[in-house]
Symmetry: C2
Subunit: 405 residues, 2 copies
């Protein structure tokens, strides 16, 4: 017989964090957006039709032909690390194989780094609006969250970081997204990048740099990530999820060599090692020389989708709406007229127009209702015609909501 939740958990004492926890808005969306007919701009999903499936299958076959060793436990695969060093060079970062630590994706990269740097109850600096997956990582530590704001054109307000540090705060780390900010779709200005690294160094505050979207960039003026300016206090997190595919779960950390021992201890306790078979197949795929061309292909394709979305918003949304053209990443951040609430719009657009997205305040680091008139729209997952139809339907939902007042 199926028990109700109450009696069953009632007899077992769970860890304290479970009392406060709720499933993330993003996971709920992942469930709901499989509804047929729904157009989803909600999640940060790449388009499956752009995956290099044939080349990847060839890589799998090659690894299998080399024998069964790839299916055994094994130390991190060195050739893959070498490929990452080369990939990072194209991103403007000089690093060494000895500074690369392989992970099961960017989420695990952040998780390991937070466990390396943060004590329960410790403090950290993060933007008021930030990636929810990061917030889930820090939650069990019940940290003292110091927030700074984000300028929609130049990124994280570094002066506010400086002020916090000058006031005597000694955070365990600063969490920063230099390119393709999630959710605000902004990239940091070059001056801010330099200054952030400078003051972080000065105060000995490590930076966790989440560069999940950094390789997906469109602008003419592209800047290297924070890691390019410093190799001692910047802990860089990268991933193959957006440039290859997310279902493989492989990413990396770039950190000082002296951190590798500690990272390997946390990693071993977490899941022993990252799937050796997948490490080798990704490495074999990159051996083929196809990755740089594939990244260029993704940039071109996603750039077109971005432009389609921006144009559709400018055409269909009310004139008081504002959005910047993102120089990197896979999101557009839309500021709607001040009295529109993102969650209200979501309810209306889901029920009346079958369009999903994430309301801006879902990303608030402090659980407040900041930027309640903003929404995050993803453009990487949908084809052009779907983006056009979806944005016009969303604008209709917005009109519906405005007329109701």
């Amino acid at each position: 017989m199926i028990q109700t939740i109450g009696p069953e958990t009632g007899s077992i004492h769970l860890a304290k964090w479970t009392r406060a926890t709720k499933k993330s808005v993003l996971q709920q969306m992942l469930m709901e957006t499989s509804r047929p007919g729904l157009i989803s701009f909600a999640l940060g999903l790449p388009d499956v039709n752009l995956f290099p499936t044939d080349a990847y299958l060839a890589a799998v076959e090659q690894v299998m032909a080399e024998g069964p060793t790839g299916m055994q436990y094994g130390p991190p695969f060195q050739p893959l690390k070498e490929h990452i060093v080369a990939l990072m060079r194209r991103r403007g970062v000089e690093c060494k194989v000895e500074q690369i630590f392989l992970t099961a994706g960017a989420q695990q990269g952040m998780n390991l780094l937070v466990r390396l740097l943060l004590d329960p109850g410790g403090s950290l600096i993060v933007e008021e609006l930030s990636y929810t997956g990061f917030q889930q990582v820090i939650e069990p530590f019940q940290p003292n969250i110091l927030t700074v704001s984000t300028n929609p054109k130049t990124g994280m307000e570094v002066e506010e970081v400086e002020l916090l540090l000058r006031k005597g705060n000694r955070p365990s780390f600063i969490y920063a997204i230099s390119d393709g900010h999630n959710p605000m779709a902004v990239s940091m200005s070059i001056e801010k990048r330099r200054r952030l690294v400078e003051i972080a160094s000065q105060f000995g505050a490590p930076i966790i740099e989440d560069d999940a979207y950094g390789h997906i960039c469109y602008g003419e003026e592209l800047y290297p990530p924070l890691r390019a300016f410093d190799d001692k206090i910047v802990f860089y997190v990268g991933t193959f999820s957006k440039i290859l595919c997310p279902g493989l779960r492989v990413g990396w950390i770039i950190a000082p060599e002296s951190m590798m021992h500690y990272l390997s201890v946390v990693k071993e306790a977490t899941d022993i090692n990252t799937g050796t078979f997948t490490q080798r197949t990704i490495s074999a795929y990159i051996d083929s020389g196809l990755l740089p061309g594939h990244i260029d292909f993704l940039r071109k394709e996603y750039r077109l989708r971005r432009d389609t979305m921006i144009n559709a918003i400018r055409e269909h949304f009310p004139a008081q709406s504002r959005c910047e053209t993102p120089p990197a990443g896979i999101f557009v951040w839309v500021e709607m007229p001040g009295d529109i609430n993102g969650f209200d719009l979501l309810r209306t657009s889901m029920s009346k127009e079958q369009v999903a997205f994430i309301p801006g305040s879902a990303f608030c680091s402090t659980g407040s209702d900041l930027r309640s008139n903003c929404i995050r729209l993803n453009f990487s997952h949908s084809a052009h015609e779907v983006i056009e139809v979806g944005v016009s339907r969303l604008a209709r939902a917005l009109t519906l909501l405005e007329n109701r007042r």
Copy 2:
């Protein structure tokens, strides 16, 4: 320029746990045992030559032929859960798809469960000698570790567990390995299984049952795991690592349905989800109907290797040595004459005879020197002739050590 460890870490404050940590003996062994010429009985590795590589490649090709969806993020793959339900039925456990939670291997299964159940500074019950990977999971919690001893013939001393509970201890959980104990290679008697579940229920103490080796069993008298006796307080951990291959990193938890929400929260914060591509390929491999036969094949092959090792030990080791024939798992536990120290033997055998293994006291939950005259030998990784040569060389190292006194 390469920095030394001191100055580089010196400027960055790491989380407190890093002060006490050291790399596991097992990971060090994984590095050292790749030395050419060395015979390793050290790690719990399956034999790569027994992996079903052709059938697995066929499964990969099938998944790829079904389209790119398998490479996208996605919810846990239901057909794989259904396969696990069927697999567990053959292990004597009735469970439902809704009680299965997919993980990146058994290590992650334990890690998620410990985070679900244990608060920092909380208490738990574990055997004096236990799997080091479990010890790594609990270390950062700095828990109060309550230990019980293990009978080499009947397993965990359940009476000691009862005594601890009757004395008023309220542990967050009891960690138990019912079959193929690591390191002591014992399986729990049926009476102890029943009694352990009984008293755990009575005192509301959850059990984390680590069944990594349960499907690799040889005896005529096989008992179902603890989960077969209770579906409310037993949290079962299983894995494909030993029955398929470890390089894929897929395992599962069986827990009450009411726990699934909490597990999904911790899992999402850890690595979003278990590689969807691997979930599907394992499922496609099981679709082929080959898994039960493959498990039977492994049981037969490993049983022969086990017998080879036991016979070689009886032939070559001093008469005062003792070992039981393990009814499950991939290890033999050898008790040597009382004045022989396992670590001394390891040094001698590594340097003079090129044989590696793990000294028993490396598994002490409390860091003490208990069972210093015992060693753990693995038999799954080496072919018969290698086992014979290795054991005789190890016996030579033992004689060498005895003669030196």
